[in-house]
């Protein structure tokens, strides 16, 4: 299935979870300083393994950078 991760279409084998998307992005699921939004809602770290993604989901994976 195709989901949109950080604005780019990504093919991922279904069924998948948020944690699966992160692995696909090479982001370790224990990475410090990372947060995830799915379709405009925060997915808490404690739910990464549980929350399923479905085709067309918009996933944002953010971290802290220099700024402000």
């Amino acid at each position: 299935m195709t989901v949109v991760v950080n604005g780019e279409a990504v093919d991922i084998e279904g069924p998948a979870t948020v944690a699966g998307v992160l692995r696909r992005m090479n982001v370790p699921v224990d990475a410090a300083g990372v947060a995830v939004a799915r379709n405009g809602e925060v997915v808490p770290r404690s739910s990464w393994n549980a929350v399923a993604v479905v085709p067309g989901d918009r996933i944002e994976v953010l971290h802290a950078v220099q700024g402000g």
Binding site: V36, A37, G40, L62, H63, A64, V65, Q66, G67, G68
Partner: protein, 261 residues
Amino acid sequence: MSDDLVIAGERFTSRLILGTGGAPSHEVLAHALEASGAEVVTVAMRRVSRGAGGSVLDVIERAGVRVLPNTAGCYTARDAVMTARLAREALRTDWVKLEVIADDRTLLPEPLELVAAAEQLVDDGFTVLPYTNDDPVLARRLEDVGCAVVMPLGAPIGSGSGIRNPYNLRIILENASVPVILDAGIGTASDAAVAMELGCAAVLVASAITRAAEPVLMAEAMRKAVEAGRLAHRAGRIPQRLYAEASSPTSGIADLRSRAG
């Protein structure tokens, strides 16, 4: 005598907050942070890019200072609230430097969205540090909705043009019962000193340090300027006068006329 900065019950020795945007490298940032003496450091939240090496968080953690995520790049209350929630999730802090801007040319705060976002974030339990216009009425509204501080701009972000409206800043300072932190506009050390002399509780400096030809030297200059300005404020300056007032005694002056006449 202790003269700590207190924000939401937390005490800081330094009154200089460092914005990390624009530093040429993490290494320069680490040295500038050390030279600045800052105990609070801002970061932005952005998309993870594959293969990104090293994190600004490593620099901040090594220095043992408080991280203050911002909502830079947000144009609406909704986006700013979401960004703050993501930052809280990523960085495990409920402190947020709230920025809601109106357009990308002026980067000026959008006042209606700013107040709406501040209200929502305070309700959500955040400690909100809002970047605001130098508008005394807006500053009061932000305080009323429960912001921990107000952070009026001296001039637009990155403009380096100092405090364009010191009169408005004085009105904000006179009426605020939360710390007033000058945010944005500082170009060089004297600007920071002026802000502190006027009575600001702290200043936030980013570009003026990170984009200086020698960021580490400028960080040290800013630290000293903030300290000097704070001391001058506490010391109480003399009034400004149009005419001179002699500092040497006006009595006991010798008669040095010649004998002639």
